[in-house]
Each structure stands twice: as structure tokens, then as C-alpha cells.
């Protein structure tokens, strides 16, 4: 059958995937390099009866998608670094209230206004710890349009499965690169619908009482169950509580429901890793450069491999450790000062064999940047 092929940029792929995943509601605020997502959804969402709103600021956009999600709708927002900073308090609210939603952060250089608009991967740790307090989070990334599509659908699926905000951590290079996208057919990629409670009207519904499998079936605002949603520590009714047992239980639940399912949440791609002497670990647009180097060197007989991470949080420590075990050296390729580099060092048995090839001047990391470090590792001088 004829493939449905498109020539689009990464931001378009996000929109196409969000629509594929049944997005109903988008709230956002203009910011480069994510604005195309808002522009396109302003056009596309009402065609299917969905809603788009341009809010007065970044934080209110985040708040609006939480409100929309609680009525049973799939909701998303998109932003870049400065906006991602502004959204953090409300992201914490989504964590605490276990409200499914997707936040796209198309990274640009920072801190502050930074580099509008150059590629960067400087928000990796902010995705993990941007909002205050003990919590866990899911963050996904992708290096090309086809994967952007898949990971966007995955972001919605994981947000529904684990009742959590999911951060789609893209970068300017991926978002603005135009390339081929083969549109999956309906049903080709699984789309997870919201798990709704089967508790009938008139029976006490406990919105925050996990089932045996840890999942919490939801009830839509406006439905038959009236309950309280609060950013305060709360009991199984959603009512504020300072009872140490309740607080302990909820904190553990919020962390364990994600950290305890790391394997299930982890998405990686492997290229030539089985016999790799030197394993590159990369993600997002940097992985494009890393893959180029690996393929190029393989053609010359050098045993290089690439582990591409698509799930950044929870960090897939087990897979990283196993993949790196037999390599003599590990080279992390990223566009920051080593945010994932440090995680890889923590994960592997021998941190001394882990090196960093990075780029932080706003230009895209090139094969030459990686090769320069490779030569040093291989003892070929600087």
C-alpha cells in the first residue's frame, strides 16, 4: 500500500502525532522555537471540535491544560526554556494531583533569554528537577521526525498510564529540521485512552486510592463523582492532610509509580553496540551527529557503537550499565556541560572510562567535535 509521506519539520511532527493521539486541548504562549506547534494547532484543533487558546502567559497555559485534563480531555502545551521555567510551579501541581498532560520543551540556549534561537540540550536537569519538592517525572526525547512522532504519541500514552505530566524534551535542531515523515496509519501505533473509574454513581469514589497495580482510575470533572483536587498533600479523597502516614504514603506513591516502572518507560535505540570497543551515548539532535560518526567509522573498520536514549527520565541506569559493560570507553555526546554525562558516570561500573564530547556555543555539534575527543581517547594526541 502507498505510504503517506510528508516533508515536514519536527514541530509539525509533534502536531501530527498529538492529533493522532487524540489531543483535545492546547493552551500556549508564543515563544521561539516552539511557536509553530501553537500556530498549527490553532488551525487544526477546531477542525475536529477541539479547543485552542493562547493564554496571557506561560504559567497560565500550563494551568489551563491541567484544568482541561481534569474534564477528561487530552491536553498539551509547548514552550522553550524561559517558558519552561515559568511553567514549573504548575508542572509540580500536575505531579501532585496526578493529572495527565504533555509539555513540549523545544530547548534553546540558556540560561535566561540565552540564545534565541540556537539548539541546546541545557534543560535536561530542569526537566528532572525544575519544580520543587521530591518527585519523579517522565521526560522523552527524539532525534528525527519519525521518532518525534512516535515519542509524542508515547508521551500521551505514558501520561495516561502513569497519571503524570510527561515532558517531551526536543531541541531547536530537531524542531526546525525538515525531513521525511511517514504518517502511521490509524491503529498502527497504540493510543492509550484514559483509565476511567467503574465505580457507579452513589458509591463512594476514592480518586487517590491506588488499585493493586498502582493505577488510579479517574473520574471527569462534570461527571457523577464530585471530589477534591488539591496541590496540598492529600488523602484518598483528595482532602488536605498533614498526617505523617498519609504524607509518607503519597510521597512514595508519586516517586515509586514512575521510578518503579523505569524499565517499562525506557525507550532506547541501539546501533552496533554488541561488539563496540567505544560506545557513544547520545540523544536528541546530538544523536544524529553521533550516529554519523559511528556509521562513518564502522565503514573504516573501527568498532564504534551508539546507544541513543529516548527516555531521559527516569534515567535508564540498568540499560546504560549493561550496554557500557564491555566497551573500553564510553563517549557521551550532548549539547550542554555534561548533564547526561554525569548520569552515565553514575550508572556504569567504571566511571573512569566515560568521556564527554559536547558543544555549548550555540552551533550544532559536528562529527569533528566528536572525532577530536575520540582521538584523545584513542591516544592519538590532541
Amino acid at each position: 500500500m502507498k505510504k503517506d509521506i510528508h516533508f515536514v519539520q519536527g514541530n509539525d511532527a509533534v502536531v501530527m502525532a498529538a492529533m493522532y493521539a487524540d489531543l483535545d486541548f492546547f493552551a500556549g504562549y508564543p515563544i521561539t522555537p516552539s511557536t509553530e506547534i501553537a500556530e498549527l494547532l490553532a488551525y487544526r484543533l477546531p477542525i475536529k471540535g477541539g479547543k485552542f487558546i493562547q493564554m496571557e502567559d506561560e504559567l497560565s497555559s500550563m494551568c489551563a491544560i491541567i484544568g482541561a485534563s481534569l474534564t477528561g480531555k487530552k491536553a498539551m502545551t509547548a514552550t522553550s526554556g524561559p517558558g519552561f521555567s515559568l511553567k514549573q510551579e504548575a508542572i509540580g501541581f500536575a505531579v501532585m494531583t496526578e493529572t495527565p498532560c504533555v509539555i513540549v520543551n523545544v530547548q534553546r540556549g540558556g540560561p535566561s533569554t540565552g540564545l534565541p534561537t540556537s539548539g541546546s540540550q541545557g534543560d535536561v536537569m530542569q526537566a528532572r528537577w525544575g519544580t520543587h519538592g521530591e518527585h519523579a517525572i517522565i521526560a522523552l526525547t527524539a532525534s528525527n521526525n519519525q521518532d518525534v512522532f512516535a515519542m509524542t504519541v508515547e508521551a500521551f500514552n505514558l501520561s495516561e498510564t502513569f497519571r503524570t505530566p510527561v515532558i517531551l524534551l526536543l531541541d531547536e535542531v530537531v524542531a526546525h529540521t525538515r525531513e521525511r515523515l511517514i504518517m502511521p496509519k490509524p491503529g498502527e501505533i497504540n493510543v492509550v485512552e484514559r483509565l476511567k473509574t467503574s465505580v457507579p454513581e452513589g458509591t463512594d469514589y476514592h480518586p487517590y486510592l491506588p488499585r493493586e497495580d498502582g493505577r488510579l482510575p479517574m473520574s471527569d470533572f462534570g461527571g457523577v463523582h464530585r471530589y477534591n483536587v488539591t496541590g496540598l498533600m492529600h488523602d484518598m479523597w483528595g482532602f488536605p492532610s498533614v498526617n505523617p502516614k498519609v504524607v509518607y504514603g503519597l510521597t512514595h506513591h508519586l516517586v515509586d509509580k514512575i521510578q518503579g516502572h523505569t524499565q517499562e518507560i525506557t525507550r532506547t535505540k541501539e546501533f552496533f553496540i554488541d561488539d563496540a570497543d567505544c560506545l557513544l551515548v547520545s540523544y536528541g539532535s546530538s544523536a544524529r551527529t553521533a550516529l554519523h560518526v559511528v556509521e562513518n567509522r564502522r565503514a573504516r573498520g573501527e568498532r564504534l557503537g551508539l546507544l541513543e536514549l529516548q527516555t531521559l527520565w527516569p534515567f535508564p541506569s540498568d540499560i546504560v550499565r549493561k550496554s557500557c559493560a564491555s566497551a573500553n570507553s564510553v563517549l557521551v555526546v550532548e549539547m550542554n556541560m555534561g548533564q547526561i554525562f554525569q548520569e552515565v558516570k553514575k550508572a556504569v561500573d567504571d566511571p573512569g572510562k566515560v568521556f564527554l564530547a559536547n558543544q555549548i556555543d550555540g552551533s550544532f555539534i559536528t562529527p569533528a567535535d566528536v572525532l577530536n575527543i575520540l582521538r584523545i581517547i584513542q591516544g592519538k594526541g590532541s
Binding site: 488551525y43 487544526r44 484544568g67 481534569l70
Partner: protein
């Protein structure tokens, strides 16, 4: 139904101090909803942070207790996705005028069909009595130990200027007429703002020589007057109460329905950008 049928009794007693005006506002709000005959399943109450916001826990509706100042932004997401629901947003003066001022003016500008009830006690009570944007010039607070040198917002003028299509003011002394005003605000198709002057004897009162909640209520009785009264002409310092604005203007959700209608004429094949 009785008032108690609208509250979650198992979560009482409430946290409000003896003499606080917020319970009176909750009472009037419940009575207004009872009089309007709106089903409990069709009401969503969204609040922010502060003494006022705790109202969410006590009301037997769909309740969303959010973050400081942003209740209207959450409410916008709820209302836009389920326009048939009645969305009420009780806020404190800190919520409404300070940290959430931006959301208040933009909700007013959009004229989205939400009812904002400002439980205005001129102080940050939850944090222990700091001055707010509605604390009067010369009033005292824990952060204004020498007297407040800031001018206060006139919420009525602010909401009116921002485009709210229903603007009213009342007080906890006028609990009965508050019910009527809230009924009209909730029924109004558009963004409604009701400024309710509410006493905080614990923090505002103690710092400002109001010996008891009764004194504060008496103050609301003697220092307010119906809009356009003779008393106001004689004494311009009196605070006017009543309905200042009640106009029909295009409502946001209904306007968005028109967008959907227009957009439905466009064709998008699956996946095509």
C-alpha cells in the same frame, strides 16, 4: 435541599478563625446555588491559595484547589472544555489582585463565562497578616508596621476597565443581598466579578483597632451605601455596593463555537499539515 446538603460534613470543622467572614460568603454562595437550582454535578469550584481557597474542600461540588493566583487559568481550561458546566472561582485579595492580577484582567477581557468571587479581607491571612493590594493607605499589617504607604486597588474599577461584563460589590454584613447578587453573577453569561468585603478579625482587625468581628461588620454597615444613594453624595468616602456593570457582550466559549463552525468547513486529510 438544606445548606448541609451542599457541604462535605466529614471535613468539618473548617480552618477559618472564629469571626471570619469567609463562612458567611460560603453560606450565601450555597443559598444562591440552591435558589438557582443548579445540580451539584454541574458545578465546578476552582480556588487558589490562602484562607479563601480552602472553601474548595468544604463544598460538595467538583472542586479544584490550585496554586496561588492561578485559579482563573485552571478554570479557563475547565470551562473551555466543558462550557455547559457552571464554573465559580472564589479568590482572596492576594490571589485576585496581586499574584493573579494578570489572569483576572485577561479573563475579564475574554469575557469567559466564569464567576469570580473575591473574598476581600484586605490582608494575607494564611501567612499571618501581611498587607495586600487591597489594604488601605495608612492601615497596619505585619509587613507594614509603620502604616501602609501603598494605594489600594479599586476592584470594581479594575474589573470594569478590564472588560468584565458583570461587576458587583457587597459585604458580609449584607449576606442576604449578597445571595441575590451572586445569583445574578452566576446566571450572567460572561465574566462576572463580585467583590465581597469580608472581615478578618484575627489579622486585619487586631492590627487596625477593630476590637471584634462585630465592629468590623458594623463598619461595613455604616461605611457602605447602595450605588448612587443620597448618602454617597453627602459623604463621598462611603463605599458603594450593588451591581455596577451588567452588560451583554460576546462570551468566549460561544465565540469559540463559531471558530469550530468555521473550521469544520476546512478539510484536513489524515496527517496533512
Amino acid at each position: 435541599m438544606a445548606v448541609k446538603d451542599y457541604i462535605r460534613e466529614k471535613f468539618f470543622p473548617h480552618i477559618w478563625c472564629p469571626g471570619c467572614g469567609h463562612g458567611t460568603i460560603m453560606g450565601s454562595m450555597i443559598r444562591a446555588i440552591e435558589n438557582l437550582g443548579i445540580k451539584k454535578n454541574n458545578i465546578v469550584v476552582v480556588s487558589g491559595i490562602g484562607c479563601s481557597s480552602r472553601i474548595c474542600g468544604y463544598l460538595d461540588f467538583h472542586t479544584l484547589h490550585t496554586i496561588h493566583g492561578r485559579a482563573l487559568a485552571f478554570a479557563t481550561g475547565v470551562k473551555l472544555t466543558r462550557p455547559e458546566l457552571t464554573v465559580i472561582v472564589p479568590m482572596g485579595d492576594g490571589d485576585a489582585f496581586a499574584i493573579g492580577g494578570n489572569h483576572l484582567i485577561h479573563a475579564a477581557r475574554r469575557n469567559i463565562d466564569i464567576t469570580a468571587i473575591i473574598m476581600n479581607n484586605n490582608i494575607y491571612g494564611m501567612t499571618g497578616g501581611q498587607y495586600s493590594p487591597s489594604t488601605g493607605y495608612g492601615d497596619f499589617a505585619t509587613t507594614a508596621p509603620y502604616g501602609n504607604i501603598e494605594q489600594s486597588f479599586d476592584l470594581v474599577k479594575l474589573a470594569q476597565g478590564a472588560g468584565a461584563s458583570f461587576v458587583a460589590r457587597t459585604t458580609t454584613y449584607h449576606a442576604t443581598s449578597m445571595i441575590k447578587i451572586l445569583e445574578k453573577a452566576i446566571t450572567h453569561k460572561g465574566f462576572s466579578v463580585v467583590d465581597v468585603l469580608s472581615q478578618c478579625p484575627t489579622y486585619f482587625g487586631r492590627k487596625n483597632k477593630f476590637a471584634s468581628p462585630v465592629d468590623m461588620l458594623k463598619y461595613y454597615k455604616t461605611n457602605t451605601t447602595p450605588i448612587g444613594s443620597e448618602a454617597k453624595e453627602k459623604n463621598p468616602d462611603l463605599i458603594e455596593r450593588g451591581i455596577f456593570v451588567q452588560e451583554e457582550r460576546p462570551e468566549y466559549c460561544l465565540e469559540y463555537d463559531k471558530i469550530i463552525e468555521k473550521a469544520s468547513q476546512r478539510k484536513v486529510t489524515n496527517g496533512k499539515v
